[in-house]
């Protein structure tokens, strides 16, 4: 019983980390209607920027973190302007493929800039285990989960309460309508990309603290896709809920099913869930159902 609760707890904490990466997908999708398949690469790129400021240039933490956030915001605007602005109004296939192209390109560039070998990521939150009654978990995961909850609250506030965020939602609904209401589609999409890069970098900090970083870590982006889809591509609060569901499911599959399947169950579980959602309810739990008119 204690074991079961421990798995459950680990699943929830991991799920919240998945959810923050899922949030980066959602923030970009909410404005640009682009599902950025390069998300994992963006997370790792953000992680490498932080690494460069802390471990490479050895700045103290309170200078390095703001500096890296500024750097990724600039990067986000650049990526949007260079790659995605020419794609406004192009086919969905072209939009998907440009994110795939970005994914491959960023992988290659990361190897050129930072090499292919794994590097230790600086310890931002201490790794000492927290022991609470019979349960124990690492402090960094716990703090990461709290940070992701805070990010969710802030992002929800931005999208639901501020003028900017409401503008972004309008752009997500319909580019033409947004334009005719006086909202700049181009600027909104730029802001969305900058926000997406900030969230990705925060995800990298919480996820990688004390771990090792190399370009292969970007697989996490694909693993977060089922979370995005289960929660709904447009829903900010769907992500933590879906993240917890998938995190718990994965943890339980790892604990009870992996020994019979040579470790496949926990890896396959999120994607099987994803296929089921796509068949039953493609818009996810809280997503918007788009009705098509001829």
């Amino acid at each position: 019983m204690i074991d079961f609760l421990q798995y459950l707890l680990n699943g929830i904490l991991i799920g919240l980390l998945y959810a923050i990466i899922a949030l980066a997908f959602i923030v970009i999708y909410r404005a640009g209607r682009i599902l950025n398949l390069a998300q994992g690469e963006v997370v790792v790129f953000g992680g490498f920027v932080v690494w460069t400021f802390i471990a490479g240039a050895s700045f103290p933490l309170w200078i390095a973190l703001p500096l890296s956030l500024i750097a990724v915001v600039v990067l986000g605007f650049m990526v949007e302007k260079g790659f995605f602005r020419p794609m406004i109004g192009q086919s969905i296939f072209a939009n998907i493929m440009i994110t795939v192209g970005l994914m491959v390109l960023m992988r290659g560039l990361m190897i050129v800039f930072w090499g292919a070998s794994a590097r230790p990521f600086p310890v931002i939150f201490s790794l000492k285990p927290i022991i609470f009654g019979p349960f124990s978990f690492t402090r960094s995961i716990f703090i990461g989960a709290i940070i992701s909850l805070a990010v969710f609250i802030v992002m929800n506030w931005i999208f639901e309460k501020t003028r900017w965020g409401l503008g972004l939602s309008t752009v997500a609904e319909n580019h033409v309508v947004a334009q005719s209401m006086g909202i700049s589609v181009k600027r909104s999409i730029g802001i969305a990309w900058a926000l997406g890069f900030i969230v990705s970098t925060l995800a990298a900090i919480t996820f990688l603290s004390g771990q090792s970083i190399n370009f292969l870590v970007s697989e996490i982006g694909l693993r977060a896709l089922p979370v995005v889809l289960l929660g709904g591509l447009e829903s900010i609060w769907g992500a933590p809920l879906a993240g917890i569901l998938i995190g718990v499911g994965e943890a339980l599959a790892a604990a009870y099913l992996d020994k019979y399947t040579m470790g496949a169950a926990s890896e396959a579980f999120p994607f099987i869930i994803m296929l089921v959602i796509l068949l039953i309810r493609p818009q996810g739990i809280f997503g918007w159902k788009i009705i098509e008119r001829v």
């Binding site: 599902l35 398949l37 790659f83 020419p86 794609m87 192009q90 969905i92 296939f93 072209a94 998907i96 493929m97 440009i98 795939v100 192209g101 970005l102 994914m103 491959v104 390109l105 960023m106 992988r107 290659g108 560039l109 190897i111 050129v112 090499g115 292919a116 070998s117 694909l222 896709l225 889809l229 591509l233 399947t261 040579m262 496949a264 890896e267 396959a268 994607f271 099987i272 994803m274 296929l275 796509l278 068949l279 493609p282 098509e292 001829v294």
Partner: protein, 354 residues
Amino acid sequence: MAVLPCGVHSANYSQDKAFIRTPVQWVCFIAFLLIVFAGPFFFPSRMLGIIIITGITIIAVVGLQITVGLTGQINLGQSAFMGMGAFTTATLAANFNLPFWLSIPAGGIGGALLGAIFGIPALRVKGFYLALTSLAAQILFPLLITRMPSKWFGGPNGLGLAPAKIGGFTLQSDQSLYYLIMGVTVIMLFFAFNLTRSRVGRALMAVRDNDIVAEIMGVNLFTYKTLAFAIGSLYAGIAGGLWAYYLRYVMAEQFNLWSSVWYLGMIIVGGVGSILGAILGTVFLRALQELITIAGPWFGQVFPQAGGEALWYSGMNIVLGGVIILFLIFEPKGLAHRWNVLKHSFRIWPYPYL
């Protein structure tokens, strides 16, 4: 369609339908086939290997072009469907001793079945959601195939198979495999070119241009969307079968997401929606791959911090990603369009317009 050369006109339908219209085109076509089939006599063996792999890739990419370019159903899992074909062929050849002329078509059917299953969601979802379905297929494929009983697909170690035999003759050398693979490629291309002008092909294109309108016009969406995936992955499966007989060893890692991305890149470079484009794109990107493999060592001296295998890998990634992005932004119609423009301006020369 580019204009025909001056003075060519049709007096009946069979002339109008013909692909090859002028004596010059016949001469060029036969000369091309002769060069292709006389290849083993004058190509060095390394070149022969490159052409064989290119031929296999062309089959898979043409299949992808039918799903993605002709029908507009996004497929990020072509490599998994190819893998399904390869494993079906390999297990039939290794465990049931089927001859290659049965096991390769069976591999095609294996690929087509898997493709059709993952194509069924296409009826309900499109765009990004459909891309995710095929992505899930691509990610689940190696997980499932390596966990099957090792008697079936060899488990994590992969599966080896004996060389193809016909009569008393063993297809083991690169030369004999070259003829097998080029022959199959030509047949598959013949079907693909004719598909685009058949009733089925027109229905597929109607689905691509507007599926709601296509349905109103009497095109059964379920049938044709599933069919698009089935045909596309049939091509992938046959390519996989040939791959199995060429390398004579199949492993799940050979059929990863990156090959799927390469295939999609080949379509984009060649031109979405054109069979000729699929061929041009494949040849262009394969040539680029070989160039990087050759230029890699030189590159290593300029950027020493990224060494060895990783360097080659990063060079491939930068070129592939860069080529995809540049073509999407600057030449979305691809090389096939450029080729048609060239042909057009050659035919109406010296006039600038027609």
